[in-house]
Structure formats: C-alpha cells, structure tokens
C-alpha cells in the first residue's frame, strides 16, 4: 500500500527530503464560531455541487440556469420592443417558477443533511467544539442562502435588464426590493421545511420524494380547493385556504404587504388582517422548522 516518497533531486544529490517525523501543531485554534462558518460555507458550496463530484454539480447548476433563463428572455424582449414595463412582476417571478424551486429544495435539502445521517458523519461533528445549535444554524443558513441565490439571481437579471431598457428607476427599484424581501422569506420557509423533512430520513431517495410531496401536493390541494371555493362564490374561504401550502403562503404575504398581484383564483389576495395571519404563520413555520431541527439533532448526537 505504501508508495515510495518522491525524492527531490533537482538541486543535485545533496538535496533530500527527510522524513521529519511528527510535528505538533501550536498554531491558532479558531473555535466554535469559525467552525460554524466553515460548515456554512462548505454546505453552501455543496448546495451547488462545488467541492463535490462533477455529477453532483449537474442538477443544481441546471436548475440555476433554468431559473435565470426566462428572466434573460424577458429582458431581451423588453429591451427589443421598448416596452414600458417588464412582462412579469419581480414578486410574481418565484411564484411562476415555483416548480423549479421545489425541485431544487427537494434535491439539495437531503444532500445537505441526509448524507451526514446516512453515513453517520454527525458524531464526528459533535465530537468537535461545535454544538447542536451551531450545526443546525449552519445547515439552515446555508440552504436558505443557496435558495436565496437561486431566487434572487433572476430578479437581479430582471432589474439590470430593466435599467438597461431605461424603465422608470424608482419604480423598478421598489419592485426589485419587494421581490428580494419576498424571495428571502420564501428561501427561509422552503429551506426550513425541506430540512425538517430531509432530516427525518437517512435515505436520500425518500427525502427527495417527501420534500416534493410536501411542497407540491399541498400546493395542488390548496389551489384546487381555492378554485372550488371561488367557483362556489365563497371568496372569503379562498384566502384562508391559502394558509395551508408554502407557496400560497408566500403569495398571500406578498400580495398583502409587498404590492404583489395575487395568483389566487379571482386574483384577490388576503386583506391586511388576513395578511397579518399569513405573516404570523410564515414566521411560525420558520421558527417551528428551526425548533424541530434542534430537537432532531439533540437526539441524533453521538
């Protein structure tokens, strides 16, 4: 198994590499906060396949391109036709492309946490200075950041394109800012839900299926019910039903407070009081996801 150590002979026969034996390390030890940052950056890079095999780069990169492509096309159209406005609002963009976002969460949440569980790497983390909270925060923050990059990048493309097309600066900036707040909220919510589901199973396949189920089946059910309620004329129910799927939740929050037009049937989003409930439920879900992850990893331990 042992191979010969290469011996440098460039500078003649006098130059040799000696085995200098074991060297002790007396440099700095940067502690918990540094370890947490390292885990965060490693996980964030991993969410785009960086530092992993070529095969694992394909899906996240592809989804990233798919997310940005429509934005690029819209910008091209807007510039070419000298339109007065972008064909799609900043806040609507993520809602329209929600399937891509769900697919991304479903593929990357399990890779972030299920792998550590499956290969039992978790004990190695917890035998080091970091604590459960550090691990959970680093993992949560990294997936939320990865999602934010995925959802904010096309908005940036739209914004830059809008400025190039010389659309109204103040108007566009306001829309862009609202869009960013909305996708930030969406990133936190989706990352939390994805991680909670993925952290329950060490099997990546189950994780992927379960995350897709949670994100898309709830949406399918909620929008069907909303459509039925709308047809039957009970418009009041439409808003309340929207509370039960992550994407309609975000839709509700942004149409109540971020000037978005709602994708709800009938095009009427929740009122301000209903919107407040939406915000509370969203924040509650984010906090709940964090709490559940903490509980889960307290148990996994060593």
């Amino acid at each position: 198994m042992a191979t010969e150590q290469p011996v440098a002979t460039a500078a003649g026969d006098q130059t040799r590499i000696h085995n200098i034996g074991y060297r002790n390390y007396d440099g700095p030890r940067l502690g918990r906060a540094y370890a947490r940052r390292s885990l965060y950056s490693q996980s964030l890079r991993g969410a785009y396949g960086l530092g992993r095999s070529a095969k694992s780069k394909i899906l996240p990169m592809l989804l990233f391109v798919v997310m940005c492509l429509p934005a690029a096309i819209m910008v091209a159209v807007a510039v070419a036709t000298k339109a007065n406005d972008l064909p799609l609002d900043y806040t609507r963009y993520a809602i329209v492309l929600q399937a891509v976002i769900s697919l991304y969460v479903a593929s990357q949440a399990p890779q972030s946490v299920s792998r550590d569980l499956r290969f039992k790497t978790v004990p190695l983390y917890f035998s080091r200075p970091i604590e459960t909270a550090d691990y959970v925060r680093a993992k949560y923050a990294s997936l939320a950041s990865a999602l934010f990059i995925l959802t904010a990048a096309p908005l940036l493309v739209l914004y830059v394109g809008a400025l190039l097309a010389e659309l109204d600066f103040a108007d566009q900036t306001k829309g862009f800012a609202q869009g960013l707040v909305s996708v930030a909220l969406l990133s936190l919510l989706f990352a939390g839900l994805g991680l909670v589901v993925a952290s329950v199973t060490p099997r990546r396949g189950f994780g992927i299926a379960a995350v897709i189920a949670v994100l898309t089946i709830t949406y399918g059910a909620v929008s069907t019910l909303q459509a039925i309620a709308d047809v039957q004329g009970s418009t009041g129910a439409v808003a309340w039903i929207g509370l039960f799927s992550p994407i309609t939740l975000i839709d509700g929050v942004q149409s109540a407070f971020l000037g978005a037009t709602s994708a709800f049937p009938g095009g009427v989003g929740p009122s301000n009081t209903e919107g407040a409930v939406y915000v509370l439920v969203t924040l509650g879900l984010i906090a709940g996801a964090y709490g559940l992850l903490m509980r889960r990893y307290k148990k996994v331990g060593l």
């Binding site: 074991y22 030890r29 490693q42 190695l124 035998s127």
Partner: protein, 324 residues
C-alpha cells in the same frame, strides 16, 4: 502516576431501563490505556460522557483537568474521537474529508491542509488519498477515521474499537499505529476493545469494566504477571507412555500445581499452569528435557475477557491452578 489525563469519581449514568455506568471511579494517566469490556459494558457511554456530550446522572469526571459538565467544548477542542461505526461519506476523497474535519476543529484553512497531508502520511495513506473514500478497503477506511481524530493534534484521543473488522495483518498494523500515537506523536490514547489480549500488546495500562462497574485497573505488566497462563503439550515416549502425566507429576514434585486443559482443544494432552515469571518457563523446559520428552507446544494462552470477569483472584486460582 503524576499527571491524570482522565479522572472519574463515582460516575453513574442511568437510563430508564438500564444502568450504563454504576459509580465508576477510575484515574487514567498519560500513555496508552485500554478500556476493556464486553459489548454493552458501558464503554461507549463513558466516552460520550467524557466528551461532554451526555450528562452524567451522578458523580463527576475530568478530562485533561477540565470538568466534563461545564467545559465540554474546551475538552472537544483538545481531544480526538474515532467512532466504532463507519462514519465516512463515500463520495469525497480522504484529503477533502480530513481537511473539512480539521476546519471543524478550528484549524485555519492553510494549517488544515498542511496538517491533513502530514496526518494522512503518518497513518499510512499516500496516493490513494485523492480518490473517493467509497473505493477504500476496510483497513484504509480505518486509517482515514484515525486521521480525522488526529488531524488537529489533540492531547488525547478516544479510539472506539479501532481494530474492528480488520484482518490479522491489518489488526497488527493498527495496533502498531496506536502505539506510535503515544511514543512518536506524544498523544495519550484511550482505546476500547473487547479483546484483552489485543490490548495487552499495545497498552501501558488496562481498565476493565463490566456492567458499568470497574472490575480492574492496573498496568499491563501487573496484568501479565498475575494472569499469564501457559499451555503445554508434550509427546509420549516408550519410557513415558503417558508423557502428559509424567510432566504433571514432575512439576508437582517441584511444587507447581498443574491443571488438565479440559475444555480446550486437545483436552487430555494439554496442561495449564500459571507462569509466575521467567523461571516458570525455564522450569518447564528443564523438566521436559530431563524426562526426555518432546515439547509440542508451550504457549501463552490468550485469556478471555470472561476470566477477568471472575472478579476475585481466588476464583482464578481455582480455575487455573496456582503455585502453592
């Protein structure tokens, strides 16, 4: 023992159904210490408590002079841990994995890379360290697991069953490596095993636990002196048609009690006696030579952990026979 690396004081850990540790008090000094016990004896529970990851039900423990209840993070910065089970992701290379683990221990990026290269070389991984771990043999995986425990240059490492799953050659190499961790690297080692014989060869000190209780804690030399059992098998000659009996009688005459090795392979032809030092070996040799018999084998019997579990010495004297 001037310096204490690990000290526990009536340490207990009770779970709703089982008592994993029962008032365990033990002091461990620098060097290589073996922690022996059958499966479920409380070894892993003890390591968890010592890493500050699981609170003790009662009693206290210190690692490197730091209280496990309050200084867990400080302890884990100075201690390395190699788990018993598989813990390596198959799709990354050993280098990438160990660098990441070094950073998780607080080493700056450059230092992490340097220390990883050094450590992997010391545990005997060379070119293959750039390949994904999934393709490694069990022996190589064990080396990676060891490397991640050593990469931050700890003062103490906990090795949980490091020889598990290795073939005899791999086992010997691993034991040699464990020895070097102390002699060459200057790192104290606490290594667990359920094989006492294995630890005798590598450890300075052996702690035996059973059912969460301390059975014994002594230096390895003490252990060997009092417990080495010799198995002897001789040939028969015309002069002594029953060579085994002849040897037994001759040894008896010299005041050494000998037992039949009943229950052992070759029962009836094997004699067991307790070696009390070099002289015993000489005595046996002389006795057999005088009788003109052929010595088929004379070997140290690997005592089973179960023998140590017959906790009183009296019992062992009864079982094996002892100089009177």
């Amino acid at each position: 023992m001037d310096v204490t690396v690990i000290a526990t004081e009536s340490l207990s850990k009770r779970f709703p159904r089982v008592t994993a540790l029962d008032r365990l008090s033990v002091d461990v000094g620098p060097g290589v210490t073996g922690l022996v016990g059958a499966n479920g004896a409380g070894k892993s529970t003890l390591i968890k408590i010592l890493l500050g990851l699981s609170p003790a039900t009662e009693g206290r423990a210190e690692v490197l002079g730091l209280d496990v209840a309050t200084k867990g993070a400080d302890i884990r910065e100075r201690v390395g841990y190699m788990p018993e089970h598989d813990c390596l992701p198959p799709d990354v290379s050993a280098t990438e994995f160990v660098v990441h683990m070094a950073r998780m221990s607080g080493l700056p990026p450059t230092a992490a890379r340097e220390r990883t290269a050094d450590t992997l070389r010391h545990v005997g991984l060379y070119e293959e360290r750039y390949r994904p771990i999934g393709g490694y043999s069990t022996g190589m995986k064990q080396r990676v697991k060891l490397a991640q425990a050593l990469v931050h240059d700890p003062q103490l490492v906990f090795l949980d069953e490091p020889t598990n799953g290795l073939d005899p050659v791999g086992r010997d190499e691993m034991l040699g490596l464990i020895r070097r961790i102390h002699t060459d690297f200057g790192i104290s080692v606490l290594v667990t095993s359920h094989l006492l014989g294995e630890l005798e060869r590598t450890c300075d000190h052996v702690v035996v636990v059973d059912g969460g209780k301390l059975l014994r804690s002594s230096s390895t030399t003490d252990f060997t002196q009092t417990t080495t059992t010799l198995a002897i098998e001789v040939t028969d000659t015309d002069e002594h048609p029953d060579g085994t009996r002849a040897v037994r009688d001759a040894l008896h005459a010299r005041g050494v009690t000998v037992q039949d090795g009943s229950g052992l392979p070759g029962a009836g032809h094997v004699l067991l006696l307790t070696a009390s030092g070099e002289e015993t070996y000489d005595l046996v040799r002389d006795v057999i030579a005088d009788l003109g018999l052929g010595l088929v084998r004379m070997e140290q019997r690997r005592h089973h952990i179960s023998e140590v579990f017959k906790d009183s010495d009296a019992e062992r004297k009864e079982a094996v026979g002892h100089g009177n």
